[in-house]
């Protein structure tokens, strides 16, 4: 416990001193230098939840949540790498990989020598994940992949990509390397946010993948690999919302206590205090949801997936609201790149879309509630 806290404090100091001041610069340059990511690797961040035997820190879900908040508060794009590299790909290999696959990939992923990306989304396929067009066919002990993926975070610098492909209604997960013949990557640019997250399109033309690169069972791609990955992804995004909101709240509080209008600090006005109070309460509510989900995940509770969805749903909406209020408190300065709140505002929006939009999660949460909230004895009448 003490060792973990010390490690967390070290990461926090690094994030505050070196990561946070450069988050804006990374976005403008649309790049995070690989050398910088390596330095985070030296602190074990890229193998956060991997077992120690594969070079990881073996953090439990609650501790991983705290780590995600620290990184996300300093820089959303680096947090995004944590989400795809550790939560989406690392957790999938940890859960579904063969012993050989674990030994081959996890130790290098833990140091950051190998960076991983998760490729599910396509130009025409987003929320309807079962409908992927990227195809595979089997040829002896190899699989031939054809298709195109889009909006893939860190695909432009990834060394390993978990690709979901279809054969009819059957989905299978493949671990591919960008160096494989037939793979080409095109960087995406000029986005609302995540400009330094190396988003890219992946084109696959007759890519031959050996069968030892199949992750999980052939045909088990959706029910198991995709569901597991997105579940882990949602948990990470829930904490990402807390991270952005915490940063935005601190920015609005600090600004409101130094900015004077009408002869007094703007924090003295009721309208500003209302925004600060609402932000503060909602942030705490989101963090509580994240901690509840984290504890249930740690305990392998049957409701863990549902709690995670609720945490992601609330936290992403909360982050958007807090970041919007932060821009409001900053007034005209909220529009300036001189201050971080305009970036936080843009970054918060993405959280309501990725790993299941709010609209995709709503019916799932409703179904869960319709099930758990029903009384067999009927509605009580007076």
């Amino acid at each position: 416990m003490k060792a973990f806290q010390e490690r967390l404090d070290t990461v926090k100091r690094f994030a505050e001193a070196e990561l946070r001041p450069r988050a804006g610069e990374f976005e403008v340059k649309e790049e995070i230098p690989r050398s910088f990511l390596q330095r985070l690797g030296e602190q074990g961040v890229w193998g956060a939840t991997f077992p120690a035997e594969y070079g990881g820190l073996a953090l439990d879900p609650v501790d991983y949540g705290h780590l995600t908040e620290i990184i996300g508060k300093a820089c959303n794009s680096v947090r995004e790498l944590l989400t795809v590299h550790v939560s989406l790909v690392g957790e999938s290999i940890k859960r579904w990989g063969t012993e050989e696959q674990k030994r081959r990939w996890l130790p290098k992923m833990a140091t950051g020598e190998t960076l991983a990306a998760f490729a599910l989304t396509e130009p025409e396929v987003g929320s309807d994940a079962k409908a992927v067009h990227t195809s595979y066919k089997q040829k002896g002990n190899r699989f031939i992949l054809n298709g195109r993926k889009k909006w893939i975070s860190f695909a432009n610098i990834a060394d390993l990509i978990l690709v979901i492909a279809a054969k009819g209604s059957e989905l299978t997960a493949f671990l591919i390397e960008p160096s494989m013949p037939g793979v080409s990557i095109t960087k995406m640019s000029g986005l609302l946010a995540s400009n330094s997250s190396h988003l890219a399109e992946i084109h696959m033309k007759d890519v031959e993948v050996p069968d030892e690169n199949v992750l999980g069972r052939v045909g088990g791609g959706f029910a198991y690999v995709v569901n597991t990955a997105l579940d882990h992804g949602r948990y990470s995004i829930a904490w990402a919302g807390v991270a952005i909101a915490q940063e935005a709240l601190e920015a609005m509080v600090t600004y409101s206590r130094t900015r004077k209008q009408g002869g007094k600090y703007i924090c003295e006005y009721d309208g500003v205090q209302r925004m600060i109070a609402e932000s503060s309460v909602n942030l705490r509510a989101a963090r509580s949801l994240c901690l509840t989900a984290g504890r249930k995940r740690r305990d392998k509770h049957p409701e863990a997936m549902a709690e995670t969805m609720m945490a992601k749903y609330f936290s992403s909406k909360m982050a958007m609201k807090v970041a919007t209020d932060a821009v409001q408190v900053f007034g005209a300065n909220g529009f300036s790149r001189k201050y971080p709140v305009e970036r936080l505002f843009r970054e918060a929006k993405v959280l309501e879309i990725i790993e299941g939009t709010s609209q995709v999660l709503q019916p799932l949460i409703a179904q869960h509630t319709l099930r758990t909230g029903y009384r067999d004895e009927g509605v009580i009448t007076k």
Binding site: G216, R217, A223, N227, K300, P302
Partner: protein, 87 residues
């Protein structure tokens, strides 16, 4: 409670149907094809079976068919328990 009873009870408590009067399903009904549960349930069911019966389902057994009916799940659990005993 028997393996069969525990699995039936778990599925019943996770049915996603709006019919408050109850939805009946047999031990051979495919719960996914009948729309009684949503797609996320596959993972939830796997976690339940592994923790409840203290078994590990490896990739070879991760065919959705093994989880599609009560009887198939009972067969899988009994097979894994037998493997654990003989291992």
């Amino acid at each position: 409670m028997s393996v069969h009873g525990k699995i039936r009870q778990y599925i019943r408590s996770n049915l996603v149907t709006f019919d408050a009067m109850g939805t009946e399903f047999t031990d051979d009904d495919n719960i996914f094809e009948k729309g009684f549960v949503n797609s996320l349930f596959a993972m939830q069911l796997l976690t339940f079976i592994e923790t409840e019966f203290n078994i590990t389902v490896d990739n070879d057994d991760l065919d959705i068919v093994n989880f599609s009916t009560v009887n198939n799940m009972v067969r899988l659990v009994e097979k894994k328990k037998k493997e654990n005993t003989t291992a």
